[in-house]
């Protein structure tokens, strides 16, 4: 193929010597910290936030190391490096998370300094993937590719990544702090459920500015973000965020871990008063010290220049022909492709949700296969989506049939992106010390019940999201169908909600009825879908039908039948 040589040409922020020096310093610092912990100079209480700021959690069975994938973008070399780490230090696989990161679940503390050194060799780290600091900034998995994009959010996600890295003032916040940014009207980054949600837009003359939401978050007290500002001009982005964080750092609650997120401050103070306080702080600090200079934005933007696209016709005859000739390919093309900015290209979702599989898991072999396919078909670049899939963002439509054939042997060709089988699930009781209930086995069971992909396609867009406890790592509140594990007198039960939405029409799901036992959940999901199929009108998605007819009929279907 003639475009083989363009591997590695996609827009990725490439580290220079300064970034590498920083990372080397950081690895060395952690080595010393581990040594101090092992010598007893640091208590576990004191070591805990330090290891958390380096992504190291203590789980049920072992340490878990969470590696930052900045805004979900990886080079193929980085993916190969991650595969090697999974093979050497874990059990030959890793787990992609709803924060676009990668977790290894079976890590030994003594190996961690070396793993961090191995990561540094591929310009990666685990900084701020946990702890009460600003976490990895997330964005649209199709950034820089998708047809409906207004502003490329990667540029600002990278700026925010840098700005928030070891921030001297904001590394000991009341609680963790998550920022997501989108650059399209259609929000694929779920900005309304983040502590700060940013929508990049364009104003007069094409100038970039930002709409800012604050106080979104799920967990015990779910809230959708409230609008804090309609338009923050680009040069003021960092000053405005500094103002928000400073108010939060000073006034966020520290007396109760469940009330410490900024959403509670927004709720208790009120968004209007908070906006005034933030605006006053912003006016005070606005100025050269915190200004984001256009020159810096341009320099960072240059890292994300479009790859060397070929000039192609908008319609690919090879793609059309394959669609006509092979129904299985046509089915995959229907669910797993997203329209591209560049004529003749498409963004491709590689499903990490094979029937009966563990959502988000990928073996080292699969990671290496994806790296090779990225080199061959997508300029050597890979994305992780918050829906726990992988994306090749820039594939020639002419190459899609070949890519699809290459994906098959690796189990990466499941035609279910955005459908029933594309379940988001947290690790649940199988790994997580906080879980009330299993989530992975349940996700596997639902996925097996709907193994018939044609059936999934007939049902259409339907996002099931599942969490093993109220911490909501699986975003169940914003699932079209949300499933939450609760502990009822020591018995695993599940509360089911419908109508949740994580996009620009964000909504929290409503409870359908009393929680049900593990064995009933899949049947309930099936009943909900059956009612939807009975009642839907043309073109209506599951959540549209819920919005139109309300929860009542669904409740009756589920509990009427049971009674």
């Amino acid at each position: 193929m003639t475009h083989l040589s363009s591997a590695g040409a996609a827009g990725i922020y490439h580290y220079d010597e300064t970034d590498r020096r920083f990372l080397a310093d950081r690895v060395e610092q952690f080595r010393r910290q581990v040594a101090r912990r092992l010598s007893g100079a640091l208590t576990e209480d004191e070591f805990k936030p330090i290891r958390l700021m380096n992504g190291l959690y203590l789980q049920l069975h072992a340490y878990m190391l969470r590696i930052a994938v900045p805004y979900g973008v990886l080079s193929s070399d980085q993916m190969r490096g991650l595969a090697a780490i999974g093979r050497r230090y874990d059990r030959g696989y890793g787990h992609f998370t709803t924060r676009q990161n990668l977790q290894f679940n079976w890590i030994k503390l003594v190996d961690v300094p070396q793993i961090l050194a191995d990561l540094a060799a591929i310009d990666m780290h685990a900084i701020q993937t946990s702890g009460n600091c600003i976490r990895n900034v997330t964005t649209d998995q199709f950034a820089g590719a998708v047809a409906d994009e207004i502003v490329d959010p990667r540029v600002y996600a990278e700026i925010l990544r840098q700005w928030s890295t070891l921030h001297p003032e904001f590394s000991f916040l009341p609680r963790k702090f998550k920022i997501a940014i989108t650059g399209s009207d259609h929000d694929r980054a779920a900005i309304a459920i983040h502590d700060i949600g940013i929508r990049a837009r364009r104003g007069a003359g094409g100038a970039v500015g930002f709409e800012i939401l604050v106080g979104g978050g799920l967990g015990r007290s779910p809230f959708l973000g409230r609008r804090l500002a309609d338009w923050v001009p680009e040069p003021d982005l960092l000053a405005y965020l500094e103002a928000i964080l400073r108010i939060y750092n000073q006034y966020g609650r520290r007396d109760n871990i469940y009330k410490a997120r900024i959403k509670i401050l927004v709720h208790e103070v009120g968004v209007d008063r908070l906006r005034e306080q933030i605006a006053a702080e912003f006016e005070r600090i606005r100025g050269p010290h915190y200004r984001l200079d256009a020159g810096i934005v341009d320099a960072i933007r240059s890292h994300f220049a479009p790859p060397p696209f070929a000039t192609l016709p908008a319609v690919s005859t090879a793609l059309d022909q394959a669609r006509r000739e092979d129904p299985a390919f046509a089915r995959w093309a229907r669910s797993n492709l997203t329209p591209h900015q560049q004529p003749g290209y498409a963004a491709v979702t590689l499903s990490l949700k094979p029937t009966g599989g563990i959502p988000g898991d990928a073996t080292s072999d699969q990671m290496e296969a994806v790296a090779a396919l990225a080199d061959r078909y997508s300029f050597g670049e890979i994305r992780v989506s918050h829906e726990q899939n992988l994306v090749l963002a820039h594939v020639r439509q002419d190459d899609l049939p070949a890519l699809w054939r290459d994906l098959g042997p690796h189990g990466l060709d499941t035609a279910n992106a955005g459908l029933v089988g594309d379940i988001i699930s947290c690790p649940g009781l199988d790994y997580c010390a906080l879980a009330n209930a299993r989530s992975i086995p349940l996700a596997q069971e639902i996925s097996r019940r709907f193994a018939d992909l044609d059936r999934q396609h007939r049902i259409g867009e339907l996002k099931i999201k599942m969490s093993g406890c109220i911490n909501a790592c699986g975003h169940h509140h914003v699932g079209h169908i949300g499933i939450l594990g609760v502990d009822k007198h020591g018995v695993e039960t599940y509360q089911i909600t419908i109508g949740g939405d994580a996009t620009e029409t964000a909504a929290l799901g409503q409870v359908v009825g009393p929680a049900v036992g593990y064995d009933r959940v899949t049947d309930v999901v099936e009943s909900l879908i059956a009612l939807y199929l009975e009642r839907r009108t043309d073109g209506e998605r599951f959540i549209d039908t819920v919005a139109r007819i309300g929860v009542g009929p669904f409740k009756e279907k589920v509990y009427g039948a049971a009674a």
């Binding site: 070891l166 003032e169 000991f172 000073q250």
Partner: protein, 175 residues
């Protein structure tokens, strides 16, 4: 008696930290709580010795702002190293109020926070008795690059990056 670190080096502490329960005010520089300052301000100012005021982590800069020109030192308490409010307080004292006196971290801090302390405007740290000073001194040199502007101890490199130089840097606020 805790040692103090200034630019990474231990220094003599001329200050006496006064307990609220002790009525008598000794000669020489004293640090008092904000409550005590409010109660005994006239007496304290009349002494002709420097006065420092200690803020709890819940007390904001606004409470001491009008008095800053009479206060030679502000001590900010860390009840727990995890309570990061004082990082903002120090920064506000420097940037918003232009305070040029000594800002001292007291209470529970870790060497791993030392760079953050200096970069948000602290001048000195009261470290616990028995602390390993070598660890504290080394902490200042551990990370040589920062990605955002601090109050002190860094100079621009390129993009958002800044070169951090803390150990040998004279304190720019000139206390």
């Amino acid at each position: 008696m805790a040692l103090l670190l200034k630019d990474g080096l231990p220094v003599e502490d001329p200050w006496i930290s006064l307990d609220d329960a002790v009525e008598a005010i000794p000669d020489g520089p004293v640090i008092v709580s904000l409550d005590r300052w409010r109660r005994d301000r006239a007496v304290l100012v009349a002494r002709n010795s420097p006065v420092g005021v200690r803020l709890k982590s819940s007390q904001r800069t606004g409470e001491i702002a009008p008095d800053l020109d009479r206060v030679a030192l502000v001590a900010l308490e860390f009840p727990k190293f995890r309570d990061g409010r004082a990082f903002s307080t120090a920064r506000e004292l420097r940037e918003r109020y232009g305070y040029t006196g000594e800002i001292r971290a007291v209470g529970h801090t870790l060497p791993d926070q030392y760079q953050f302390l200096i970069r948000t405007g602290f001048s000195t740290v009261a470290v616990p008795d028995g602390a390993n000073l070598a660890t504290w001194q080394h902490a200042l040199t551990e990370i040589g690059v920062a990605y955002q502007a601090g109050v002190a101890g860094d100079t621009p490199l390129s993009l958002l990056r800044r070169k951090v130089h803390l150990a040998a840097a004279p304190h720019p606020q000139g206390d």
